[in-house]
């Protein structure tokens, strides 16, 4: 068999060790004024961002910050949708707002294609992934996912106090994506460290962030080499073999897409499962109704996705422009808040209420336009199965201590500690 020379040496060798993009000053600390100094990394945002977003939407509605080298936060559905659809003025070259902007020539591929890609490359990179993530493709994983959820609940047997985020929600997507990529299931704890570093360590010095990213890509290269020696029926082998424009993919494309699937597939779904259980723990009427009417779950689940949408994306402004009343400069960040759009009263009735039998629910938890979450069908399957199994096995539960619940900061929001009291109280 011919040796695949793309991965024999570390393909990153010879790349400039220096960061070639633009850095900005790291600014942390309490927010003085949300209209001019917003930050999604401060504790008050993590604890409850919705009143902040509601107030901005009424009075601002596109907030500004000088942190992260400058950025904008639109809060109306209309503005979020317009940006999601406008790939001419907004680039996906970076999708995590931080103190480092990658160089312009990273576009249109970006570091983690296709989420970081712009047209026209984006469509071709995305098409490579779509068949593996259709509803019928992910349905084949449902039985194994359900069995795994039962195993997790079995391990909680006899306990009165459990942490539904750490002991249940987080393990489900880790297992599913490890299976899909063909990674050893026992590596799960390492994935969680990679995720924390890439999504939550946003205000660390750029060198430190790069070092963490280096560890992730070291791990991925290890997995790629293992798959070259032992090809198998999984996404890693698929990406190694995949072709675009008549050639095998660039090595950085293979590992970048693997990094994307690993990172984007885990804490997003973990957050959605956790936020749904958090809501049910504090809302006995909704919990009892779903236990009594399990057929309502698919509808209720969409409402949890709307009200507690876990994911916010980012874009970079391509050129100076006057946009919807503000003066945007080239390379300003835009925080694309799907959670804020989902709670815009101009878009949805009773926007601030969680209505589990809401029939018309045009929410945008999975984004809009060409970057619609590739894993949305997988996420929906995992969320539905995780909630079905939990409600079947543990129909009675409450928050053990509402003040002990902690939420992730940054662009993916969900409970990271969720202490529940199980059984009748």
């Amino acid at each position: 068999m011919a040796v695949d020379e793309r991965f024999t040496q570390d393909y990153r060798d010879g790349q400039d060790e220096e960061l070639v993009g633009t850095r900005s000053e790291i600014v942390t600390g309490p927010v003085a004024d949300w209209t001019t100094d917003f930050s999604h990394l401060e504790p008050e945002w993590a604890a409850d961002p919705y009143p902040i977003q509601d107030e901005l939407r009424q009075g601002c509605p596109i907030a500004r910050t000088e942190r992260f080298g400058g950025g904008w936060l639109p809060t109306r559905y209309e503005d979020v949708a317009a940006i999601a659809y406008d790939t001419e003025h907004f680039s996906s070259r970076a999708i995590v707002m931080s103190n480092y902007r990658p160089p312009l020539d990273l576009a249109p591929v970006g570091g983690v294609p296709p989420i970081s890609s712009d047209p026209p490359f984006h469509r071709d990179a995305r098409r490579l992934l779509l068949p593996a993530f259709t509803k019928s493709a992910v349905a084949k994983r449902e039985a194994a996912t359900r069995a795994y959820c039962h195993t997790l609940i079995d391990a909680l047997e006899g306990r009165r106090d459990v942490d539904a985020a750490r002991e249940y929600a987080q393990h489900i997507p880790v297992r599913v994506i490890a299976d899909m990529l063909g990674f050893p299931p026992e590596d799960g704890p390492r994935f969680r460290a990679f995720i924390e570093h890439s999504l939550e360590g946003v205000n660390l010095p750029p060198e430190e962030r790069m070092a963490h990213m280096g560890e992730l890509f070291d791990y991925l290269l290890e997995q790629i080499r293992d798959h070259l020696d032992n090809p198998r029926d999984d996404l890693t082998t698929y990406l190694i073999e995949a072709e675009l424009y008549g050639q095998k993919l660039q090595p950085a494309h293979v590992s970048g897409t693997m990094a994307l699937l690993l990172i984007a597939g885990i804490d997003t779904t973990w957050s959605a499962i956790g936020a749904s259980l958090w809501h049910l723990a504090k809302t006995p009427a909704d919990r009892e109704r779903l236990v009594a009417e399990p057929e309502l779950l698919p509808t209720a689940m969409e409402e949890f996705l709307r009200a507690y949408a876990p994911v916010t994306m980012a874009r970079l402004v391509k050129q100076d422009m006057h946009w919807h009343g503000v003066d945007m400069k080239a390379d300003d960040w835009v925080l694309l808040s799907f959670p804020a759009a989902n709670r815009d009263p101009a878009h949805v009735e009773r926007a601030d209420e969680v209505v589990i039998d809401r029939e018309v629910n045009r929410h945008v938890a999975f984004g809009l336009g060409i970057h619609r979450c590739v894993g949305s069908h997988l996420a929906r399957m995992e969320l539905r199965v995780a909630l079905e199994v939990w409600l079947e096995r543990i129909p009675e539960f409450t928050l053990a201590d509402p003040a002990a619940v902690t939420w992730a900061t940054g662009q993916v929001r969900g409970p990271r500690t969720l202490p529940l009291r199980v059984g009748r109280t």
């Binding site: 098409r127 779509l130 068949p131 993530f133 259709t134 509803k135 019928s136 698919p298 969409e302 029939e359 018309v360 629910n361 045009r362 929410h363 945008v364 999975f366 809009l368 336009g369 060409i370 619609r372 949305s376 069908h377």
Partner: protein, 66 residues
């Protein structure tokens, strides 16, 4: 009643084939497809309306046949 998907707008969210599996299906990449000629059989009108109302991309159109 007849339903149509605008392929320029559809991004494969799949709400239509979740909510109205008798009227819509997925293609190999997950994009929505109208099953048959899109004529809504009696009893499926409500499902058709739900699919239209829940499409995040507003890609589905339902109209009365004339």
């Amino acid at each position: 009643m007849k339903v149509q998907i605008n392929p320029e707008r559809c991004q494969g969210h799949g709400r239509c084939y979740d909510l109205a599996p008798g009227l819509f299906g997925e293609d190999d990449e997950g994009y929505g497809q109208v099953l048959g000629h899109g004529v809504v059989p009696p009893g499926e009108e409500e499902a058709a309306r739900l699919a239209v109302a829940n499409c995040p991309e507003r890609a589905i159109d339902a109209h009365e046949e004339t």
